[in-house]
Subunit: 431 residues, 2 copies
Amino acid sequence: MQIITDPPKNKWPELLARPLLNSDALEDSVKKILEEVRQEGDRAVRSLTKRFDGADIPIFRVTPDEFDQADARLSSDTKKAIATAIENITRFHKAQMPAKIRIETTPGVQCWQKSVPVHSVGLYVPGGSAPLFSTVLMLGIPARLAGCERIIVCTPPGKDAAIHPAILYSAKAIGITEVYKVGGVQAIAAMAYGTETIPAVNKIFGPGNQYVTIAKQIVSRQGVAIDLPAGPSEVLVVADETAIPSFVASDLLAQAEHGPDSQVILITTHPEIVEPILSELKTQLAALPRRNIAEKSLSGSKVFIVRDNQTMMDMVNEYAPEHLIIAARNAETLAELVVNAGSVFIGNYSPESAGDYASGTNHTLPTYGYAKVFGGVSIDSFMKKITFQELSEFGLRNLGPAVMNMAAVEELEGHRNAVKIRFDYLSKKQS
Amino acid sequence: MQIITDPPKNKWPELLARPLLNSDALEDSVKKILEEVRQEGDRAVRSLTKRFDGADIPIFRVTPDEFDQADARLSSDTKKAIATAIENITRFHKAQMPAKIRIETTPGVQCWQKSVPVHSVGLYVPGGSAPLFSTVLMLGIPARLAGCERIIVCTPPGKDAAIHPAILYSAKAIGITEVYKVGGVQAIAAMAYGTETIPAVNKIFGPGNQYVTIAKQIVSRQGVAIDLPAGPSEVLVVADETAIPSFVASDLLAQAEHGPDSQVILITTHPEIVEPILSELKTQLAALPRRNIAEKSLSGSKVFIVRDNQTMMDMVNEYAPEHLIIAARNAETLAELVVNAGSVFIGNYSPESAGDYASGTNHTLPTYGYAKVFGGVSIDSFMKKITFQELSEFGLRNLGPAVMNMAAVEELEGHRNAVKIRFDYLSKKQS
């Protein structure tokens, strides 16, 4: 890790810049696959699955038998862990359910706002080396709570045409039984355009490799919504002298093991803790199965030493990390200063892993600085807000003059007339 | 208007299809302008303003003097109308302010969600023929309520280098004084990239012509957020025998006058009202200053005659209109069936114009079927939700085993270790 002391503020943007994501090179091949699925449906999905996953899948949809087998194969400890995660995620997301808002803005004018679920959503769950069944929970639970009518999951099969039992068990545990053994760009295409057996959905969620990410971006310009713009995962740890070096090192590594492009940053007000953290990092890294990946990620990562808490938190907000860990005295007070971050982990006993799996918060979060404008996935992501208004006769007479005046100034006579014609009608009716 | 009776459900998608928006032809010229501003800043903005608006603007920012002049030039009636609009829009949007949510999901695990304003926003306000000062209110009021730190407005100058007084008056009335006399693609570029005198912002809002829309789409792929994907404005009116034909006609025209590509649809369960509405339409059209525009829009529009209320509302949800007017018996009950729409106007005395200007609801709404997944602009559009979590020692010991189990199944040893190292530390400490 590169150590930088007292970086001047005007250098921050450069020092905190994310690596450029150049997707142009991949875009053509992604577009080709999308188009293939759009035109040939299941036939294309089948042949692409053979090509990319090495699996021959006659029927994409997971059968009740396969769910039963998954259930039989999963350990009771894992089932218990999943039950805990489901409980906490459900509690936190249920608390987010938006209330209906209804007020009389002026006498005779009722306005209200109602949240309505998005009808159909598609959840993409990466498979392969690490079966991310936690993603099933993080996307599926709020989708169910929001009341989405159709929830489907697409996830790539292994070479043996099977899906990891934890993925199937998690889906069924939260009431999702429409799971398709399809991954990669072909899955995004199927959920965007629909095939003979896989339905098109209104909104696509979920993480994925670079190809999946580009595919989501492309279909999002074609009328399908997506959850978030995506970039590599990130953690920023802020630490003072109360931080425990081995904890901080473990947090940096938990992020670094995600992928070689994972972004890892440490900011501290106390230079003396840097050496112990780096030394711990070395020890822990040696024991990590994914150490090759973590090493690559760490080689591009940075440690900043700054003068005070305010500078530290200013730098956090400039970077807008996906995950922020605050391992410092008065961590909750420092957390009050956060204005740009996806999810914040406060104190020495709140590792990112807690939120990744089971504390209750969502782990689908804005990366690449998008935390400046977007929040992570929440109940809101599965709903949209519709506004309503009802004017009584009195309300129209009350509000009408203001509307007519403004429409006239905007030179929209048709807008003015829609009020005037009602106004005149009521005046006549009254006399 | 084309009249279609009892369309079979499988024909709906085709009959309700929006015109294809092909922006490819314009994209190159938009990109060229964006790039010019990115590289040359104010100099490019100045020369583009000369070219496109015919105005020579030495200093883009509106001066206090210009605000004063606007105040002096605006009629007191219009000022009163604006005051009414501000009051109602403020009331409805204030009611939307999100509450902080905080719960203990499981003993020792505190999770909370806090809404934080987007730091800086840019509001684009079209000028030209119709000075859309209502847009200043619809975007500026929620931006102020949300607490955005920097709010700027860009709006094109007339040939005389001036901005319509209603725009300046409205901005100042809601506390926005950073207004720039810049329009078109050059305004979007300035707000996305920043120039020497115009600051880059985090999120850009506002309607505009096709060029502005394309520019917003392009910069939204470069890290700046935008409010909504845009298409031509739309109204769908549902009417039964209780609808008043002249009212319905006025509503169709209020939409049709927006632009030749405006989408206008009428659905009714009562064929006998179609003829009176069309006849009224003809009469009112003749009196409309923007009748050429309205005529073009109407020539592509449709009337559907259907059997019953359920079919009518199913068709509404299939189309997902930006504006929906329900002029029918039990309108509020029918409104309960709406799942896809931007804003809904209920009963005979709730013309769309009321919501366009002053009822309190927002007029920046999802078009082109995006109402299936997006709501209109609201307080949420100017904020993002950050999640926080804090585990106590007890919380970590409570939740730790579940997290460690799940991380192990996902084969993310680093994630598991971040918990294990704390768990072991606490066990040692206790013993």
